[in-house]
Symmetry: C2
Subunit: 306 residues, 2 copies
Amino acid sequence: MVNSIEEKILNKIDDTGELFNGVHNIRSNGESISRNTSNSISIKNKEDKSGINVVIQPNTKNRSVHVPVIISNENITDTVYNTFDVGEYADISIVAGCGIHNCSAQKTEHIGIHEIFIHKGAKAKYIEKHYAESTGKSQKAFHTKTVIDVEEDGILEMELVQIKGVDDSKKDMEVNLHKNAYLIITERIFTESDQEANSNLTINLIGEDASAQIISRTVAKDKSKQKFYFMLNGKNKSRGHIECDSIIMGNAEVTSIPALSASCEDAQLIHEAAIGKIASDQLMKLMSLGLTEEEAQETILQGFLK
Amino acid sequence: MVNSIEEKILNKIDDTGELFNGVHNIRSNGESISRNTSNSISIKNKEDKSGINVVIQPNTKNRSVHVPVIISNENITDTVYNTFDVGEYADISIVAGCGIHNCSAQKTEHIGIHEIFIHKGAKAKYIEKHYAESTGKSQKAFHTKTVIDVEEDGILEMELVQIKGVDDSKKDMEVNLHKNAYLIITERIFTESDQEANSNLTINLIGEDASAQIISRTVAKDKSKQKFYFMLNGKNKSRGHIECDSIIMGNAEVTSIPALSASCEDAQLIHEAAIGKIASDQLMKLMSLGLTEEEAQETILQGFLK
């Protein structure tokens, strides 16, 4: 059912033990190759386009759903439309990894268009890992567009990780937070060689007492380029905090634009951003313990992105 | 030479004692109405357009030059082109206030296009205060465009203040910092009623060891709108720090976008921004000392903008 390349990729973007035993849909090269549902979580193909509707019943607690996407055919653009509907007072994890394996000189592209609805009082953890690998010289691209609505008292925790090998990533995300809704995003991005990563995130603090926290950590090596645009809109009594830290190495370029906009006197918005290189005293310390410069760098970067 | 309205306005935007006794050029309604120069500081009209060239000789120390602009005619757009050339190793203050007095229902506009050259090793303090007043309902607008070049080892300290009464202000500024040049900008902006303030600042850290610090504090009351876009470009081993704090009151809107861009691994860039309302514990404290709420607010705002 799952071949060795697929299994290898799944291991990079998900916990395969949990994946195969739990509710899941595995999409490989545009087709669903394995699906498992339960009474409380249904997964159905969309009728009008490629993709799935994942519906989590109200009050479903401590369950997870895995929806990995794998692309191993060269020269394919796989566009998928996924909708996640998390019912009232549910408490759920969604693992939406995406991996590309490409051995040719062609271009492989994943376009993911997601909608996420967190209904009243529900809590969801959304984990998205992007990974790509190739033996030859090929272009591996990820474009995602995500629209999220968190209803009253809802909680969404997002973990967005771009591990390695992604040549070109564009992420557009818009989140609407209603009354007393809470969002926390932790983002980790690593780029090297000629890779480019773009991230565009808009968070609308619409409801009273909505709050959002964004923690972004990135490393840009070699000639890679990263560009981040985060917008926090305080439209009501609300709180928002953005924190961006980037390590820049070699001839890399990082542009970080975290914008704040308040149209309510009870909105409290804060952001902090820093771009700099690896602290030389940390390097020295590790090197004095016997690590080579490369090993010391690697250790520091791993700690930073953890 | 200077009428009573002009004198009143000059008092708001400059130190008139220092102004009249020192090197100066007073521009009122598009004409130079008083000028005083010295051996080390020349002021000459531009030949091709309205405005002046201010040339400070190398090594001129502890001198100041005042170039206030006053507009008291209604329905006028006064466009002025000023160039400041600060010679090598000079140490100088430039006071470039601008005031509008308008008693009609017309629009009065000041457009200032400035070039500032800080030559090698020179140090300049540049103070720009914008103020407007009217008895009737009128539109008072300030648009400024400033291009600044700070050569090796140069230091530029800027104090940019928009005191009161300005209905519409647009500020565009670009600063190029060369080897070991240092820039510090402190900005204070106050808006109320329907006023709008836009500030666009780009700082290019071009030379090795260039450094820049921007401290912006603003208060937006009533239905006023403020928008800030600060860009710090680290193109070399350099340091930059942006700090923006805004107090929002009533139905005001503040958008703060301090962007960082690093294309050198030895660039160290940091920014911090916060938007929020007056701390209620500070208000309480002052009110418990016998101040009314309005008085307490006023006291806190004055402290914040000082």
